[in-house]
């Protein structure tokens, strides 16, 4: 048996200085060979990156441009400080033409802050712009001064988060100037500034709500003047974004708001309709009270009308999302509004089909989402969708579309195959829908979803496989699933960390591919 050297300090000695070349040369050669591979990887990655950098340059300012921008920035910063100094001295000047001096200084500042691509906001703030501008907003100031000051603040609020926050001392006055006593241009400019502030985040939104910005903005939205209503709607949509739903509920309860929404949707002005539709998006997403009122109003018909008729991407996105929110939130929509046989129902389906065919990925996705909610409705809805052009479109998307659309489509197609659940029973299967989908080779696409890293999609896939194995006539489901490698896909979840998925997949495999499987062949 092998005996080891047991003496504690063996005959180890350091390497002699006088050594043969082979000791180092072979090792060096191998290291060089390995290093060459690493260098090539680096080179490959660098070329890929640099090649893309060149692409960037086509769209954006070139590197040489940056040099000029730096110089330009220094000049602009110096100008900003100078103008603020001018404004300061104009504020204290009491003599003849004082008001004119102030307005001129304000206008110069506004121009500086709005003209350049890189407004010197920081420099202006450092020079003390906000307290001066607040002073310029004091009650009784001439309209022109108020307008210029609000405009300056609007541009400052459009900057970085910290810059937006610096407006806090000005907010009460900006809100105050929204009121009925203000001239329309001043009110609109203040709404704009406040919209920028509200868009920054919920902290500032809460401050604005506490300062009572909601009511005057809602009133402003009721304006007949298109630009005013639009600016106010936009500011409101920023203000009620949440995450707390209170503002949305409060808004819909303000008298005249729903009427104004309906009125503006009837208008042919797409831009106004777009901003109003965004208000509806947040109302329908956040407030149950709003949903209850909206579904029973004309809003749904108007939205469906816009969906069917408009070609504007800007408008279609909030319209689709609003409709989706409404269908998802309240069964009244499918039960009472989108009744099978009604014109509105046919129209929405046509609109959705148009969006599914569109080139725009967002439209496709939103449309698929709305459809999935409608497909969750009655058997009649399912049959209507199934017999429409939407189904072949979706089958195509199921195998070819980007992942997020595929998921929505899968959800819809899955919904088409099950009747609404009664009590707590397993939902019954609409067999001819299922068979039709299986005949059009949907199984592999669903198995693809099962293999997805996204748990929700994988679950969708598993649910569909369950339908196939339970519902296909003559019990041929398991065989079909097996043929598409479905067992392998399900067995991946055998030890999955997600317990629900693990149980679901293991349950299916046990039930349909257990001990008895294949015995009768």
């Amino acid at each position: 048996m092998a005996d080891e050297d047991v003496s504690p300090q063996s005959s180890y000695h350091r390497n002699a200085i006088k050594t043969s070349v082979h000791n180092t040369s072979a090792q060096r050669r191998r290291q060089l060979a390995v290093a060459v591979g690493k260098e090539r990887r680096e080179a490959l990655i660098r070329t890929k990156r640099l090649c893309r950098e060149a692409l960037f340059d086509d769209n954006e300012a070139s590197l040489e441009g940056n040099m000029n921008i730096d110089e330009e920035r220094a000049v602009l910063n110096a100008q900003a400080s100078q103008i603020i100094e001018d404004l300061k001295s104009a504020m204290t000047y009491q003599g003849k033409g004082a008001a004119q001096k102030k307005v001129e200084a304000l206008r110069a500042l506004r121009r500086l802050l709005s003209k350049s691509e890189i407004p010197p906001v920081k420099a202006a703030l450092q020079a003390g712009a906000v307290p001066l501008l607040v002073q310029c907003l004091s009650f009784g100031s001439p309209d022109e001064q108020l307008l210029e000051a609000a405009w300056c603040l609007t541009n400052i609020a459009a900057g970085e988060p910290e810059e937006t926050k610096s407006l806090v001392p000005a907010l009460p006055l900006l809100v105050a100037h929204l009121g009925e006593k203000s001239s329309v241009p001043v009110a609109e400019q203040c709404a704009w500034a406040l919209g920028n502030v509200a868009g920054e985040g919920d902290e500032l939104r809460n401050i604005l709500l506490a300062q009572g910005a909601l009511l005057p903005l809602a009133r402003l939205m009721m304006s007949d003047k298109g630009s005013t209503a639009r600016t106010a709607s936009w500011a409101l949509s920023n203000l009620i974004k949440g995450p707390q739903p209170n503002a949305a509920t409060e808004l819909i309860r303000i008298k005249g708001v729903l009427d104004a929404i309906i009125q503006h949707l009837r208008n042919l002005d797409d831009e106004l309709a777009t901003e109003v539709a965004w208000v509806i998006v947040y109302l329908s997403a956040l407030s149950e009270a709003a949903v209850r009122l909206l579904v029973k109003s004309d809003v749904v018909h108007l939205l469906v009308g816009k969906l069917a008729s408009s070609e504007s991407l800007q408008l279609l996105i909030p319209v689709l999302r609003s409709l989706g929110n409404l269908v998802a939130a309240d069964s009244y929509m499918t039960d009472m509004v989108l009744v099978v046989g009604h014109n509105t129902t046919d129209q929405i389906l046509l609109g959705l089909i148009k969006c599914l065919k569109s080139e725009h990925r967002v439209l496709k996705k939103e449309a698929a989402w709305v459809l999935s909610n409608i497909a969750a409705g009655s058997v009649g809805h399912k049959e209507l969708i199934f017999s429409s052009e939407a189904t072949p479109l979706m089958i195509h998307l199921l195998s070819s579309a980007p992942f997020d659309i595929r998921k929505e489509v899968a959800y819809t197609l899955g919904n088409l195959c099950v009747a609404p659940a009664k009590n707590a029973e397993q939902p019954s299967i609409i067999v001819h829908h299922l068979v039709a989908l299986v005949n059009r080779e949907c199984i592999s696409a669903f198995i693809h979803l099962v293999r997805s890293a996204d748990i929700q999609s994988a679950k969708l896939g598993l649910q569909f496989l369950e339908l196939v194995m339970r519902g296909m006539p003559n019990g041929e489901g398991p065989k079909l699933v097996e043929r598409e490698d479905g067992i392998d896909a399900m067995e991946r979840f055998q030890f999955h960390e997600n317990e629900e998925m693990r149980n679901m997949a293991n349950g299916l495999v046990d039930k349909y591919f257990g001990e008895d499987y294949g015995l009768d062949e």
Binding site: M1, H13, R41, R49
Partner: protein
Amino acid sequence: MAMEVTQILLNAQSVDGSIRKHAEESLKQFQEQNLSAFLLSLSNELVSNEKPVDSRKLAGLVLKNALDAKEQHRKSELAQRWLSLDIAVKAQVKACLLQTLASPVPDARSTASQVIAKIAGIELPQKLWPELIGSLLSNIHQLQPHVKQATLETLGYLCEEVSPQVVDQDQVNKILTAVVQGMNASEGSSDVRLAATRALYNALGFAQANFSNDMERDYIMRVVCEATLSQEVKIRQSAFECLVAISSTYYDKLASYMQDIFTITAKAVREDEEPVALQAIEFWSSICDEEIDILDEYGGDFTADSDIPCYYFIKQALPALVPMLLETLLKQEEDQDQDEGAWNLAMAGGTCLGLVARTVGDDIVPLVMPFIEENITKPDWRQREAATYAFGSILEGPSPDKLTPIVHVALSFMLTALMNDPNNHVKDTTAWTLGRIFEFLHGSTVETPIITPENCQQILTVLLQSMKDVPNVAEKACGALYFLAQGYEDVGAVSPLSPFYQNIIQALLTVTRREDAGESRLRTAAYETLNEIVRCSTDETAPIVMQLVPVIMMELHQTLEAQKLSSDEREKQNELQGLLCGCLQVIIQKLGAAETTKYGFMQYTDQIMDLFLRVFACRNATVHEEAMLAIGALAYATGTNFLKYMQGFYPYLEMGLQNFEEYQVCAITVGVVGDLCRALEDKILPFCDGIMTQLLKDLSSNQLHRSVKPPIFSCFGDIALAIGENFEKYLIYAMPMLQSAAELSAHAVADDDDILEYTNQLRNGILEAYSGILQGFKSSPKTQLLMPYAYHILQFIDTLYSEKDMDDAVMKTAIGVLGDLADTLGSHVGPLINQSVSSKGFLEECLSSDDGLIKESADWAKLAISRAVSG
């Protein structure tokens, strides 16, 4: 439960092979079938004084092997098995072992000591066997010297097995006290004293606290120094070994003892027996190691930080140290140049002299020159050889300014000596010294060239002539030529070697075919030198390299044809195949890299590939390694055309990836997968299922050496870069692996440089994988599949940034990944990136880095991020 195993143990040592084999089998079966009974039987055998010493010794050895193994995986498996045994069984085994320490039979005691230490190594970290150290220490007070000796030996082994953190300071103090008392001159038994001295060697690592206390340290040092003067040579040797260990562990505590230590070591070097003298020299080499490290950290800048200050012990000792070392150079052995493993006073002294030169630089030159001048022309070969050796030893360290004038004078003398000296030792050392001259004083970075058009021809003539000398001299001449060529590696279009190129290659080929090329590793040196010559070829000499291709191919072909070889011959054949594959690898790399030669080379690729595939049929790790490297080079040279070889090569690729045991083969194969990815691009797709399966298996194996894991991660990146969005199906497996490895590697144990270095390699591999995957998916409709991982990737980079212990390579890759993330996922990750600390502080840090590559990656990342955030 215990069984009688005496006869089996005796049979296991029988001279009759079949009896031995049978006995070994029985023991193995016994161990597998009933471990408890097996261990009890062995410990009973070991403790029984009436049993023959041979069976007892083997019982202890088998016991030890049942508790410990070299291979890490097996080691922890054995430890687990021991821990899971019945507590009564373990107690009984331990009792037998402790009892054996009192046995009158020395071999039984010694084996028991080692087994006890192994068990302690398993149990003490688990807070088990707390009474062990106490009961050992109580033995120390026994009167019988042999018990005392065995106990000290056990304590020594124990300190070797167990890490210092496991033993509390109180027990450490007691162990040290017992050990140092045992070493004391007043100890009557020299066996006890020797065991104590050896135990101290292992216990030194435990003595941090004691070495920080002046009184305790003084005491320990005094006892160690006294032991170096013992009557017993083994005690003296062991005491010097302790001094060597102290010099590296407690360098910064030595100042007040250096004067005494110099006196002791000088006396030992001059007067003591060789084993003792060697350790005395080793003490100074070890001090050099420490000071070279510290000065390295200073980096030439004396204000820079090092944890430990340099005390310049070598510089202070220089005037006395150098003469002492020079004296040793004259004590050569007659045949030392033929024996590769030789180690004697002269070799140790020269090695130490070389370290001293590296430590003090220019200062050594005036101290050594008189010795060289006085001895280099003496009739006694020993004096000429010692002078030459001294010269060769000090060529690294001193500045070229100092050395170049001397080398100019010495060069022609050396060339003459290499041709004409009657003594082989002198010629051997002369050729080696020439190699050192070329290694350190010749090359594109050296200002004043040593080699001029005038002397180049003479140098080459002498070197080529020396290659016909006896093998050891020829081997050193090859080495000199190797470094000569290396110095011309980046010489540009015209090389001074070109006129001699054909002759050099011919001479080297002739050497490889010498009958005696197997001696002194001559053949290996000749091939490696040939490789270096190929590597430094220029456009002018490329046609000569091209002519070399069929020659080397033919050589390789012949090795494959050889049949019915003895195992000895086969081993030599394998070695030769490895050398030939290595040579082809360098040739392919060289010829494949230039457009001018690539086309001509392509005519050979079919045949070369055919040869490589035949090489794989031989079962030898080194050969596989070399063939793999060569195939990597071939793939790069042939590009997508390599596809036609894939069918034939793939089985060997898979085999390489499965080679856990020879992990270097596995590592190189992983690298070759990367080469293939770059060569084949998306054409590698059909092979990816198999490759990915193997790589994932490799990663989840705890048998595979850890060093292979970082390159496997990088390899994921290579694959993703090659196959783009087709990597989709591997995401579900690869991403969780990357994530969990990332989590593990984010926080390293920073107190260990090796672990930190490995951790950074791992991080780099993971980041390269992310980079490759992100870039692979760029502009594909499937980019959103990566969205779920974006947060984790960012978090990983954030953590790395906050840990502050990544190296430059990781930094560069990490900032690149940040850019890739922004570039590939665009505005979807804008908000995420905005929130991360990396996008601010880390990016800023990289933007202001001195490292051009880091800055370049950071500039790019900044651009990509600004786009993602604004889009």
